[in-house]
């Protein structure tokens, strides 16, 4: 498979009163055509920042310091707003977190759809309604009722499906789903995940699936990237990572899944706290919490080690020195 998106050594910071927050700090990854790439990490590890950077809609206090994001070979980082217009939503769309009130409370769902279509030059109202109805139906929603509703009249799960339908509306090449099920109850979460898997099976659409819940990843993703404190620490196919995780953080994450460990008693939470991203620890950012930490981990950043084609880990344990 060809790469559709290549992120190379990306650095993004936020200006804050205390100093620069190094939210994404040297992340590299590749998304292959037609795959579902999972990205997992604790909250605050920079997942949303990565997603917003790909779409180039970072808040005004954020800055891309360096790195490139190649989408089918064109660098999104150096692109101007005008050129980006052809990429945003038309070629790369996004499903935000359901709890986030992503829809304008004073507008009906249909108006959200119409304005989105219009912003991309589609003015044929009849076509818009037909197309969105088709998508809503596929997501098991009643189009007439939903389109007539205001956001607050829909449940979390319904809103989330509306956002998925909107993301599919222009038939983009890549969809970024940022914690699409996090705010939902367990049953709705299950339902949405099944819909998404079904959708992927039918359309073969490339997806980046972001979550803090590694248990979900096994279910939906082909490959997974593990993020810790603004860094990618391990990336590889789901089967390999779950069966034989290499990075101590990945190991700890997988040990924390109740259903994999067997019983709640065997679950091991990771001791310590994620670091402050304004003054991150030197060397490997995980070293203060790492049971295997060596001297070199405290002073020098770990290199990328390719253990096997496609399985990369950023850890001194595997570096040949």
């Amino acid at each position: 498979m060809d790469p559709i998106l290549e992120v190379r050594n990306l650095h993004v910071v936020y200006r804050s009163p205390r100093g620069y927050v190094r939210a994404v700090d040297g992340v590299s990854m590749t998304v292959l055509d037609g795959e579902v790439l999972g990205i997992v990490g604790e909250s605050g590890s920079g997942k949303t920042t990565l997603a917003l950077t790909i779409l180039r809609i970072l808040p005004s206090n954020a800055k891309i310091v360096s790195g490139s994001i190649l989408f089918r070979g064109s660098d999104l980082v150096s692109m101007d707003e005008n050129a980006l217009r052809d990429y945003r939503w038309k070629r790369i769309s996004m499903v935000p977190q359901a709890a986030l009130n992503a829809l304008n409370p004073t507008m009906k769902i249909l108006d959200h759809v119409l304005e989105t279509a219009q912003a991309h030059g589609i003015r044929d109202r009849k076509y818009v309604i037909e197309r969105i109805s088709e998508l809503l139906q596929m997501l098991r929603l009643e189009p007439e009722r939903v389109l007539r509703s205001y956001p607050h009249e829909l449940s979390g799960g319904m809103k989330q499906r509306v956002l998925i339908a909107l993301a599919l509306f222009l038939d983009p090449e890549l969809i970024i789903l940022d914690e699409p099920t996090t705010a939902l109850d367990v049953l709705t979460q299950r339902f949405i995940l099944d819909l998404l898997k079904d959708l992927h099976r039918k359309t073969g659409k490339t997806m980046i699936f972001i979550t803090h819940d590694i248990a979900i990843i096994a279910d939906v993703a082909d490959r997974v990237g593990v993020m810790y404190a603004g860094k990618m620490v391990e990336i590889g196919d789901v089967y390999t990572i779950f069966r034989d995780p290499k990075h101590p953080y990945t190991k700890a994450l997988i040990k924390s899944i109740p259903s994999l460990v067997g019983s709640v008693e065997d679950m091991k939470p990771i001791p310590g706290f994620p670091p402050d991203l304004i003054n991150p620890p030197p060397g490997c950012r995980f070293h203060p919490r790492c049971p295997y930490a060596m001297d070199v981990c405290r002073s020098r950043e770990p290199p990328a080690v390719e253990l096997r084609p496609g399985h990369v880990v950023w850890c001194w344990l595997y570096a040949k020195r």
């Binding site: 217009r85 769309s93 935000p96 009130n101 409370p105 607050h152």
Partner: protein, 337 residues
């Protein structure tokens, strides 16, 4: 529909209670209209107080007599039949309703104009500040508005009167219009008359805008900053919506909502005008009448003016509640309150 009826009943009770309160508070004020008039005679004509009192009694025969609760019942029953009583001392014998009917349009002209202008300007400036929050422009405007907000109306009014009217002669020093303009109106020159009216209203309006714009701008700034942080703004940008649409439909509309109720209440309060502004510019609106009636203890005139304000404010609040549902779909089925 049921909640409208319920809200209307509550509004009526509010009006009734407020009117009752103001009746007894006014009656409990020290001094009475005859005494006030007598004091004025003493000051003007150097006569003895007894003599002045007799004169005042003769000049103002309309002072109410009998027990206060009887006066109250009589006043209220007449009020709801549209009879607001007569002026005791300010314009002896003249109907309060007539005096107010003459004053209200002028006050409304000044306040409605100022309110709309200061609201619109405040909204725009507040939004610009919010979009540039943290910038030099924003922080200097915050300082400027905070200072402006703490300057009392009468200081601004006196400064404008002194500089623009007395020193530079750009505007008249007082009054609602000139008599020569009225003559022109009688000859059919409406435009000239209107021009004259606006020329007289200019300084009161300017004072009002200067003292009220800070409130709107700062409120809108805060509200807009809140909305800018909402997820639906980010999500609108990702969908590639043009920024014009985001500014108006997403930021503007949602940021104005919390200001709407205060705007409607201000519309109600506008019938009271401003005592200071109208007094300083000798602008004969409701505030000016109110000032005169208070100094002369002209009970019924005072009550009439207060009650008009009370009714207007309560109606404004009622209207705000009803209209809010149309603006904000989240409370449209307002049956719960």
């Amino acid at each position: 529909m049921r909640w409208i009826v319920r809200r209307a009943i509550i509004a009526f009770l509010t009006v009734f209670t407020a009117m009752t309160l103001s009746f007894f508070v006014i009656k409990a004020m020290p001094g009475d209209p005859i005494d006030a008039l007598a004091q004025a005679f003493v000051r003007q004509y150097y006569m003895s107080y007894e003599e002045a009192y007799r004169l005042a009694l003769a000049a103002a025969p309309f002072v109410p007599k009998g027990p206060v609760w009887k006066q109250y019942v009589e006043y209220m029953t007449k009020f709801f039949r549209g009879d607001l009583g007569v002026s005791i001392s300010f314009s002896t014998g003249k109907k309060v309703a007539e005096i107010l009917a003459d004053a209200i349009p002028w006050t409304v002209l000044v306040v409605a104009t100022s309110l709309v202008i200061s609201f619109l300007m405040g909204i725009v400036i507040g939004m610009v500040m919010a979009y540039k929050h943290g910038s030099k422009l924003d922080s200097s405007l915050i300082v400027a508005f905070s200072i402006l907000r703490s300057i009392p109306e009468y200081i601004v009014a006196i400064l404008l009167l002194w500089i623009l009217a007395f020193q530079m002669g750009l505007f008249p020093t007082g009054g609602r219009y000139d008599y020569w303009a009225l003559e022109l109106l009688k000859k059919g020159d409406v435009l000239a008359f209107l021009g004259n009216v606006l020329w007289h209203a200019a300084l009161p309006i300017l004072t009002w805008i200067i003292t009220h714009i800070s409130g709107w701008a700062l409120a809108m700034r805060g509200s807009t900053i809140g909305v800018l942080g909402e997820d639906f703004i980010t999500y609108a940008k990702v969908r590639g919506l043009p920024s014009r649409r985001i500014v108006i439909k997403y930021v503007g509309k949602n940021a104005i909502l919390p200001l709407f109720t205060s705007f409607m209440l201000s519309l109600g309060f506008m019938f009271g005008g401003s005592i200071f502004i109208e007094f300083i510019f000798s602008y004969q609106g409701v505030g000016w009448v109110l000032y005169q009636s208070i100094t002369q203890r002209d009970w019924y005139l005072m009550l009439g003016a207060f009650n008009i304000i009370i009714i207007a404010v309560v109606l404004g609040a009622l209207l705000a509640d009803m209209l809010y549902g149309f603006l904000d779909p989240r409370i449209r089925r307002g049956g719960t309150t």
